[in-house]
């Protein structure tokens, strides 16, 4: 058993809305090993990014409980100065939209240098310049010396994302959090960026938390997958188990909603309803039950717990046992 790089235990992050705190991340426990890619999937609003920002300590005015153990520190109880020493040095973050993640008024070279100046202050100016070129080379940018002195708006989306990645890996972090790194990019660039992230992971041996709503990306990259709904992890398993034997109704619905090239022009499955807003999220019982109303209340647990089906494969709530999709009633009835 490898040592865990990051262990999150019972992390709850709540935001204040009209004098009440509502948990956007609710009792999440998760661990990441070095050189492992843990994917977090879920619809928009399921708390994926909120979880990532909690790990980075980026939430202003949020209440965060639980522990985030990293390198012997509890990130959740560190002061801002200690956190600043870790951020950028041991933890890097890749953002979703590479245009807004770069300062429009600074050359990209300067922005990469910012991370170097902060965490390797004894580096000489010349060394830093060389390191910037080296980093740009490592993320596959041609003519790094020209690109280093250009501004973000002069670069294409794929190049900007490479810059964002090079900033994140500037100090060879042990943990990389990628918040939907390919969402803003087109398909061919997506593949290049994913390849790049995988290559960098192998080079520096970092653990990666990959946040995405693209199951294709997950299948391509992840070692383990955590499915989030309503701020909770509803299913967690290694990638093969999750794709071949998904159990939780939400996971199964997500996987069923992926368009497939084999069966064109058939009506795509969609999950009923929308993710409820933070304020209106049901806090009692199975949070997913309102989106699968045809499943009887009795199938759900009153206080949904994680059930271990096989080593490392956990599912929340008992509703997975009796779950069926509409249109499958015949099978269901025939079986019973």
């Amino acid at each position: 058993m490898q040592n865990e790089l990051l262990t999150i235990q019972h992390l709850t992050t709540s935001f204040k809305i009209e004098d009440h705190y509502y948990a956007a991340v609710d009792e999440v426990s998760l661990s990441v090993k070095p050189n492992e890619v843990v994917a977090i999937v879920g619809e928009s609003g399921s708390g994926k990014s909120a979880l990532a920002f909690s790990i980075m300590g980026l939430h202003a005015r949020a209440k965060s409980e639980g522990s985030i153990a990293f390198e012997g520190y509890n990130l959740n109880s560190l002061g801002p100065n200690e956190l600043n020493k870790l951020r950028g040095k041991h933890i890097g973050m890749i953002f979703q939209d590479p245009l807004s993640a770069l300062n429009p008024l600074m050359t990209v070279g300067d922005q990469i240098q910012e991370a170097l100046i902060l965490h390797q202050p004894n580096m000489s100016k010349k060394e830093r310049k060389r390191k910037v070129i080296e980093l740009l080379n490592s993320v596959g940018i041609l003519q790094p010396d020209v690109i280093a002195s250009s501004y973000p708006h002069e670069l294409s989306g794929g190049m900007r994302q490479r810059i964002v990645i090079s900033i994140a890996i500037a100090n060879e972090p042990k943990l990389l959090i990628a918040d939907e790194p390919t969402t803003a990019l087109d398909a061919t660039i997506q593949l290049q960026i994913l390849d790049l992230i995988r290559k960098l992971k192998d080079d520096i041996g970092a653990g990666i938390i990959l946040i995405t709503h693209d199951i294709g990306v997950v299948a391509e990259m992840a070692d383990r997958v955590a499915v989030m709904y309503g701020g909770q992890i509803v299913e967690i398993a290694d990638i093969h188990t999750l794709l071949s034997d998904p159990r939780h109704p939400y996971t199964r619905s997500l996987l069923r909603s992926i368009p497939s090239a084999d069966t064109p022009k058939t009506k795509l499955y969609s999950i009923q309803g929308v993710v409820p807003s933070l304020k209106h999220l049901p806090r009692q019982g199975c949070r997913f039950r309102f989106r699968i109303p045809w499943i009887g209340e009795s199938s759900h647990e009153e206080n949904p717990q994680m059930h271990e089906l096989s080593p490392g494969h956990f599912v929340r709530c008992t509703c997975y046992q009796n779950f069926w999709f509409p249109g499958e009633e015949d099978i269901q009835n025939g079986a019973s």
Binding site: F53, M56, L58, A60, R61, P80, N81, L83, N84, K85, L86, R87, G88, K89, I91, G92, M93, F95, Q96, D97, S100, A101, L102, N103, P104, L105, M106, E114, A115, L118, H119, V146, S150, Y151, H153, E154, V164, I167, A168, A170
Partner: protein, 305 residues
Amino acid sequence: MIHPPPNDIPLLQNEAFAARSPSSLTILWREIVRDKIALVSLVFIVIVTAFVYITSLVLDQEQIVRVDLFALNKAPSAEHWLGTDYGGRDIFGQLIIGTRNSLTIAFLVTMLTGIIGISIGVISGYFGGMIDNFFMRVVDFFLILPFLMIVIAFIAVVPKYSIYSFTLIMTAFLWMGIARLIRSKALQERELDYIKASRTVGTSHAGIIFKHVLPNLSSIIIVSMTLNLAANIGLESGLSFLGFGFPEDTPSLGTLVSYARNAQTLESRPWIWLPASSLILVLMLSINNVGQALKRAADARQRRG
């Protein structure tokens, strides 16, 4: 047709790479050059400012404000280029020193209100929450104070009334506008991903404010300070005109204009108040013109250049 030799092609490519996007200073300059009125205004401002500050070095203020009983209300002549006022004091000399004083006040007030307003605005906008709430209530408090009444009371109380005390009292009541403006922009700015991205790199709050927030607000800061400068010239003149400006031994544009409160001066001695009034008008218009050009330069949708 003779085609250009192929060895031209690499050169062209190099040029394409050399064509960097224009810096913000280049954009400002281009906008001003394209707008002829703004260019003329800028030249005018520079000439007036340079002339006034340089000549006032050689002029003797003591001598200019000395009452000369033998030259009361003289029309313009070779000795007194713009004539004299009711105390026999040279209008031209007063105009130069007055313009210098007015410009100095306007400039100092603009800088001081800028520094205070930007600091408070950026801090409350960037940090938000309680800090924002506190500073905005302070701003509200200052905004409800009756500015004119307090200035008038201040003049009555302070015995030795100088350019610097005047600047301070003006500053105390004029920093709120820019603080509010900068706060609203900083509120917008801090939500952008690159601020968060910079935090993930480990940059401190101060570092982010100076390296990322302020540079991205620089165009707004420049524009609003330029427009404030024009307004402050007007404000000083207005107060002096009402009689709450400087004593007569400290000439300013406003004191010169205030001589026009005398009906006889207004009707038959235009040389006393007309030069100062026109100078105020033209200076304020010019600064506004330049300010408008800067404003357009700051917003790519409105640019002409």
